[in-house]
Symmetry: C2
Amino acid sequence: MIKNEYACDCNIIHQEIVEEIQKKMYPEERFKKLATIFKLIGDPTRCKILFTLTHHEMCVCDLANVLNMTKSSISHQLAILRNNGVVRYRKSGKEVYYTLEDIHITKLFQMGLDHINHLP
Amino acid sequence: MIKNEYACDCNIIHQEIVEEIQKKMYPEERFKKLATIFKLIGDPTRCKILFTLTHHEMCVCDLANVLNMTKSSISHQLAILRNNGVVRYRKSGKEVYYTLEDIHITKLFQMGLDHINHLP
DNA sequence: TTGACATATGAATAAGTATTCAACTATAAT
DNA sequence: ATTATAGTTGAATACTTATTCATATGTCAA
């Protein structure tokens, strides 16, 4: 048991295992990115938006009606998805139409969806 | 264009599409569950814990050392993962050893990890 | 050009959450 | 028995974030 004064508030119990994993550890930045990806899907409103866009391209008003929420609220959430490259938009007259952009996140979302659909 | 006074603050622009998707829509509860799953992974500390446990079963002290955080902080996060069935624990003397429990969440996590590892 | 509507956005508010701190339980060692 | 250590947990704090409100921009129709 090696005292570890600087790193944290407790002892290392299994030094070999700890060192082995510390070598494999990614830099902080990568874990932040990873968490961000999951956090993007980790909100009910955004889940509903993604679910809806999986079925059809949609403008903000229609999304607001489908989700039964205000345009403003939807628009804020779309901005988050947009700024993280999850959705793409095209303008047509007064309307703005959104579609899914990021294939990886879409796949992750679909996997999560399949999972809960198979729950009891 | 049909005025929708009760549902939200705006008009339905494409009624057919909206109605079609409203039929396919899941109940609120299911989207909450879905979001919860992703939210569980959507935090850098929990990502690090999951990453570490992917490689080896580990006790709280060792986890605290690997992540360079306090035992308390780790323990709180482990409680969240535990309460949501993501990790399992076994006691051995004074130590508590954690392993991954939920195969679905582990798979989702791995998919996310693969994704960011293939980023430029 | 005026009015109506679709969308975006900044600020404010409210709710949620991660970490710290202090106190607690349980186990092991002396 | 007493002490030290591993882990948990509740409360407090600091931070993040979703929604609302008010306002602004841009497009279309009259």
